[in-house]
Amino acid sequence: MFSNYLKIALRTLQRNKLYSLINLFSFVLGLTIFVFGGLIVKYELTHDMFFPNSDRIYTVGTQMRGDVTAGTTGRNNTVYTAVGPLIDAELTEVEQVARALIRSRVVAIGDEKFNQQIRFADPSFLKIFQFDYIAGDASALDQPTGLLLTESTARRHFGTADVIGETVTLDNKLDLLVTAVIKDVPANSHFNSTLLWDAEFEFMAPIAAYSQVSNFNITGGFRGFNSMDLTYVLLPEHLDLAWLEEGLGGIYQRHMSAREDKYALGLYAAPLADANLAFLDNIGLPVTTIIQLLSLLVIVIICVNYTNLATAQSLGRSREVGLRKTMGATRTQLLLQFQTESLLLVSSGMLLALACLEFLIPAYNTLTGKGLLLDYGEELPGLVLTTMLIGLAAGGYPAWIITRSSPIAALRDEGRQGQKGSWLRSGMIGLQFAISAFMLALAAIIYAQNLVVEEGSYIFPRDETYALRLNLIKLEDKASRLEILRRELERIPAVAGTALAFTVPFDTKWGTYQMSRGKEKDDAAPELMYISLSPEFLELYEIPFVAGRNFSRALGGDRFVKGETEIAHVIINERAVSALGFASPGEAVNQRIYAQEDSEEGIEYLVVGVVPTLPHMGQLNQLIPQIYIWDEQRFNDLSVRMQPGSDMPDSVRAIEETWKRVIPEYPISGLFLSDLFMQIFRVFLAITASLAGFALVALTLAMIGLFGVTAFMAAQRTKEISVRKVLGASTWQIVQLMLWKFLRPVLVALLIALPCAFAASSLYLRLFSDDRITTQVPILASAGALAVSLAVITVISHVLRVARASPIVGLRYE
């Protein structure tokens, strides 16, 4: 019996090659997305589960105060460095507490010298997380000079994993001895998470070592939140999250609320499992839920599409059903027979989808550095169940419809009646087009805005300016050597100029000062972005003066020296002019302004010049009020501008040689401004690409769906079309008739989708407050036009065939 079902199913699929292929394609597409989405979600949600005790480990975070913008939970998964020791001292039931701070330091191994992200942790860190030790044990960080390496790190730098007792020099002054080597931490740990930071688990040193090479106090402090710092707690079996949060509440009351902390509103704890996605969850972006919903939506859409196409097809087979019923087939047998077809299609689709995933998963892992794995042993029951359920869901309705009529009616081919459910079908198509047009329009607008941002970034000579990072150089070395380095670099023929500053364009590090025109306290005083720069900086970036003058080495009072200068000369940009309430740039010059910060008490700031407002944080094109001061203590970056047309790789080599000659004890770290720009900008490109990808999938599905509905309606109306043709309707008149019927839901969908896309894109464009595209409406219109054209093509490609068919066939009923 079953082989007969299978035979019929195979032959039906074979006879309608186009339909079968379309259905197969949509199942492959849908199942690939569904299974892939499921794997991604599972992967992201099971991070760190391989650690014993992972269910007892928590991270501590801060509930932030103040202007939390919409879409964020106000949670920050880091805490002040003082909180860890406080938990240790006051919550004595806690089994272990440890901080791990990630810092970039200069590391020397033999002759090799490089900048390295190091995790500085409390010794108890190794009691919380049980690693696989190749050598050494969990006491590795007990000595303040201990050092733990991962296996691949040891091999990379020493050529072997047998490195216990080897010396690694930190910041040119502290020798650490390797005390443990562990197996590499698996990719699915938050330590290696690619979601937030780019700092794989390689080196781990005691926090005590860090305090020896920096001014870090081992008991921590109440200043600043660093997204690289996490604090971990291991609870005993009998205590839970609620207990921990209560304890944290007490610590906040005793130590933080009294300090009138400007940023923290409270402390919270989260299970270790959440650490991986904490950043995204905290900004209110439930990525895994979104992925789950989207892949579910895709499957639902595909089932509906299949149902439409299959129902359309089965209408032509009512005679077969009638015959089988006459021969004594029961309804159950017939249902089973028709279900065989959909199950066969879904199973083949699943096999092909798995084949696609065999390519997709490695590509995804390479691209994102993740370790996604399709473990057939583990996933098989789920995959089989999914296939069965989708097969039953997709094939159920057509099978039910076709088998329900009485044998005589079926033989008379009366199954073609009924417009019931047509609004549902139109609605589904409309919904699909709405979603795809929405995403398409959004992707197009973000793309257009990307172009504007990229174009705007050329306001700075990004391709010919090389930024040397100086943050690892000690202050005393900066004072004695930076000027020499600068002058030596300027002797390179290809170098057009150099300038020292706190930052370079496109860099995201920044600090602000609240500045006001009066000396008295003013909470509403504007925040100005505070940048130290040398007189050459504004010249090098060709920033003109609107009023006043640049800093000058010839005049005495321009340079700020902390502790000496009482009247600091500053330059502000036009945005700051208006923020401070000056009527014009000219009026601001020679005026005094004051910082609201206590630390700057007693200093007056004298405006000597005004420059135009430039998109310093190029990625968002935001125009921010800025204040520039010449404070050599705060120089962190050296901009080196090349002569236009010079050989860039050659010039970089020359810069490196000069660096090695002047400050050999520090490894060089530099990059072109264009690369710096790309570091952030690629996120925007990635957003555009994934939106466009989703739009493409959604559009494909919508077109398949539309094709299905067209087929369905055309099959229902074969007789009508034939009669109209016999009465003289031309092919084109038939096409028009059908086209209008199918375009209506699409047009309604666009009427809903495009305004939504307008609203969503306006929300997005708000990020680019100062230089945004003005072509939003034409872009939306084009996206809509594209969706309509594709819909028209889809409908016509099918309707044309039906309309061209000889009417005799449609009328032959005898």
Binding site: Q419, E720, S722, V726, L727, G728, A729, P807, I808
Partner: protein, 226 residues
């Protein structure tokens, strides 16, 4: 009016060639009423389809008002069809979703006739057929005989000179069958040319001339003894 000369129609399926019509010679004059008879599979419907310009012959000539239309394209045939030929089918072929008046109007819809004139002509023809009181009914609410009346109305509303009827009484009981045949005869009396396929010798008697087909060939073509 129509002349078919040595007309042949062959169907080819894979390796079998079936001859549906083989060397047909028929002439139809204005005002004729012809009944085409013959056993199942003799080529009656194929002949009607070719005469009705729904299908084209494999070879031979077909003069439609002195114009050889044998090799005309579908769009040309469609154009001739809508101006000159009205169709009546065994299974009525009314559109279930349209009411009686709309079904009749369909025949005028593709002929560049203004809406008001269409409405007048539909009203006229419904009066003539005695179905005016059914104008708003859907086909499903009518008896077979009434449905065929609607179909006849649709066939004549555009004043086409030629009416083709493919077993118009096949789905009707004898009383309704007679009624439809009377209707066709009165149309013929008013000047319409009619070609009708039928199985029933009694209904063939309404025609002025009977053509007998067998295996795709004309075996007898005789005027009915009056």
């Amino acid at each position: 009016m129509l002349t078919l000369k040595n007309l042949t129609k062959m169907y080819q399926t894979q390796d079998i060639e079936t001859v549906a019509l083989n060397g047909i010679d028929i002439a139809v004059a204005q005002g004729d009423f012809i009944a085409v008879m013959g056993p199942s599979g003799c080529g009656k419907s194929t002949l009607l389809n070719i005469i009705g310009l729904l299908d084209s012959p494999s070879s031979g000539q077909y003069f439609f008002f002195d114009e050889d239309v044998a090799q005309h394209s579908e769009s040309k045939r469609s154009d001739l069809r809508k101006r000159n030929i009205g169709f009546i089918f065994q299974s009525f072929n009314l559109i279930d979703e349209l009411n009686v008046a709309d079904n009749i109007e369909l025949a005028l819809l593709y002929q560049n006739i203004s809406r008001s004139e269409r409405r007048d002509r539909v009203a006229d023809v419904m009066d003539r057929m005695g179905i005016a009181h059914r104008a708003r009914h859907m086909p499903g609410q009518l008896s077979g005989g009434q449905q065929q009346r609607v179909a006849v109305a649709r066939a004549i509303v555009a004043d086409q000179p030629l009416i083709l009827a493919d077993e118009p009484t096949g789905n009707l009981d004898s009383a309704h069958g007679r009624e439809v045949m009377e209707l066709l005869r009165s149309l013929n009396d008013e000047g319409s040319t009619i070609v009708m396929v039928t199985h029933s010798p009694a209904h063939a008697d309404y025609a002025k001339r009977t053509v007998n087909l067998f295996d795709g060939e004309v075996v007898t073509d005789a005027l009915r003894a009056a």
